[in-house]
Amino acid sequence: MTTYIIRRILLLVPTLVGITLLTFLLIRLAPGNAAMLKGGGENGGRAMTAEQRMATIKLYGLDKPWYLAYGDWVGRICRLDLGESWKDHRSVTTKIEERLPVTMSIAGTALVLSYLLAIPLGVIAAIKRGQVLDRSISFIVFILYSIPSFVAALLLILFVAGGDYLNLLPMYGINSINASEMGTLPWLWDRILHMILPVICLTYASLASISRYTRVSMLETLGQDFVRTARAKGLPERLVILRHALRNALIPIITIFALELPVLIGGAIIIESIFTLPGMGNLMFESLEYRDNPVIMGITVLAACVTLFSYLAADILYVLVDPRISYE
């Protein structure tokens, strides 16, 4: 197994090279750069100073052949130096570091919550296969799956967060304006209130897909011989399901988080910009609007690497959890 894991990790190298190369080529090929540098510089309406131009040339090695420039750029990424933001001249790494906790707490809560809700739903649907309960769960899950997150966010804001209807939850931000004056507990409560809507918007779509996977996986497991054996030896149905079927059905479910991650990152851009949360997604959105290329590229590489490592984690986890899989 160790050989498998080592081989799997070694396979990361070409993919990492591919990711960085692709991102780098996107920057090099982008017509904006050349035009901006040549024309004495317009950067989305904002003039580019000579010093900024030099920094850009240096950052992406625009004065060198692409392979040398690529080498330099990758070397700097490895040292976590992503350059300076065009907007406020702060280091991109610092900017990302500031924003990361918010996104991680929201996306993490959403992921955990969707697993916690989706697995029981999927199991119930599988047990009651074909019955009214199964059909209604499947139908509701299907509708949830089809609602775009920003539509849900807008409607939730409209109906429960201010406006002409219920005013239960705050609409914008991660904390109230006077949060710094609060004690620890009120602060935490305030934070939780602010997180409810964004977390709901990020949760329900993953919840839908995870519960569908759970249902299918559970149905497959329930049809297997060892479940019949467990029933035949007289185990109560509850134990058959919880101890025998569910444990085996969960194996493929665990690894789904890797598939959900890119979706969550994409969702975070939209959700954070709607709720104006100071997270990575919002940073990305702001940078896209400002054409702040160093930040855009930094976040893109980071998101791709996170996804890549989550795929790796999923693969390794899969092998660890299921001893039947051969490592060849």
Binding site: P14, T15, G18, I19, L22, L26, I27, L29, A30, P31, G32, F142, I143, Y145, S146, I147, P148, F150, V151, L154, L155, I157, L158, G162, G163, D164, L261, P262, V263, I265, G266, G267, I269, I270, S273, I274, M284, F285, L288, E289, R291, N293, I296, I299, T300, A303, A304, C305, T307, L308, Y311
Partner: protein
């Protein structure tokens, strides 16, 4: 009648029967067809120009003078889809050749449309005197501002108006064509690329396969929405409002799923005896791929394509919502929603109607995909 006797039902007929028996899939298909008809006829349903106007004993049809290139496009493609449906037997009998003809026809239509020019005509016929005039159902153009802004839904404005007094119902009808055509074309691009790349990898195996798989893996590491946003913001400065640019970007970034699928199918099919038999009688690679492998993997490709259209529509509306897709004045559902965001306190109709439209469209496509998947599933053949 013929329950015991094996019938001569073809694969397509059987798939269709299973598909049609599923009420969700059937209704999904109906809704999509209605949406396409509405989108095609949008200028005749919501327009500030009269359908027929009689003044000074002279008949005129002002609506035809106000047609934009995109409207011609819809007027061509929707009947084309109808013709394909009517001739479906001939079409599916020789899929390779039919697709070739279809591609040629599409090129011709696009060349014609390339010669038409957008018309900037903001006049309206609502108040113009005439002895007789027949106005469309919704007598407003999607880009036309009226004096009453933020009017809630009423008989005058069925879905209300936005900040500049544009009629939401008219914008939604015209926005349907943006969403539907971007979804459809983007997914067609993705399918073409995916089938080509996945097919080559699955058929030739070896180094081509390894290289392709690596590349797909790299592409899959980028969250789709992120990659599309970056591509749009880096490569376009004025092209943001170009529909084809958005279609191309969505298509170029979402082919990996199809490629994986086709590769798997081709790997499986090319190991089966019928491929060997085809090789034994001396069929060329191209013939085996186009006439034997491709038709046999058409089912799963179609399923992936249907789900893909749903996600392409979702991506398009997200882009417009974030302000990176189609922008005002071009009507699109996502754009109305991004307007709604600013006035969310009171203007519920700005969020509700386009949201509902997106939801219904995506759901119909998903239901269709679901039904299609059950219908092409070989396990059903036992029944």
């Amino acid at each position: 009648m013929n329950s015991a006797v094996p019938t001569s039902e073809t694969y397509v007929q059987r798939t269709w029967r299973h598909f049609y028996a599923d009420s969700f899939a059937r209704n999904g298909l109906r809704i999509v067809i209605v949406l396409f008809i509405v989108a095609a006829l949008a200028p005749f349903l919501a327009n500030s120009h009269a359908l027929i106007r009689v003044a000074d004993a002279q008949w005129s049809f002002p609506i035809f003078h106000s047609l934009q290139p995109i409207e011609w496009r819809f007027l061509f493609y929707v009947p084309l889809a109808g013709v394909i449906y009517l001739c479906r037997n001939q079409f599916f009998a020789r899929p390779g050749r039919s697709i070739l003809y279809l591609a040629a026809l599409i090129v011709l239509i696009e060349i014609f449309i390339g010669f038409t020019h957008p018309i900037n005509d903001t006049s309206n016929d609502r108040d113009r005197p005439a002895s007789f005039k027949l106005m469309p159902m919704i007598p407003y153009s999607p880009i036309e501002s009226t004096p009453d802004s933020f009017s809630p839904p009423s008989w005058k404005h069925l879905c209300g108006t936005d900040s500049t007094g544009r009629d939401i119902a008219a914008r939604m009808l015209h926005g349907a064509r943006t969403s539907l055509s971007i979804g459809f074309v983007a997914q067609s691009i993705a399918l073409t690329i995916g089938v080509a790349i996945g097919g080559l990898a699955g058929y030739y195996r070896g180094w081509i396969d390894i290289g392709t798989c690596r590349f797909i893996e790299i592409m899959d590491c980028f969250p789709p929405l992120l990659l599309i946003l970056v591509a749009i913001s880096l490569f376009d400065s004025d092209k943001g409002n170009n529909m084809f640019y958005i279609m191309a970007v969505i298509g170029l970034t979402s082919w990996t799923g199809v490629a994986r699928l086709v590769r798997g199918e081709f790997l499986r099919l090319s190991a089966l005896p019928f491929t060997l038999a085809a090789k034994a009688v001396g069929a060329s690679d191209g013939r085996i791929i186009l006439r034997h492998l491709l038709p046999n993997s058409l089912g799963p490709i179609l399923v992936a394509g249907t789900f893909g259209v749903a996600s392409a529509i979702l991506i398009e509306s997200s882009l417009s919502f974030l302000g990176f897709g189609m922008q005002a004045p071009t009507p699109s559902w996502g754009d109305i929603l991004s307007d709604a965001r600013r006035y969310i306190d009171f203007a519920w109709w700005l969020a509700f109607f386009p949201g509902l439209a997106i939801l219904i469209t995506i759901m119909s496509y998903n239901f269709m995909g679901e039904g299609l998947r059950d219908a092409v599933d070989p396990r059903l053949k036992v029944k």
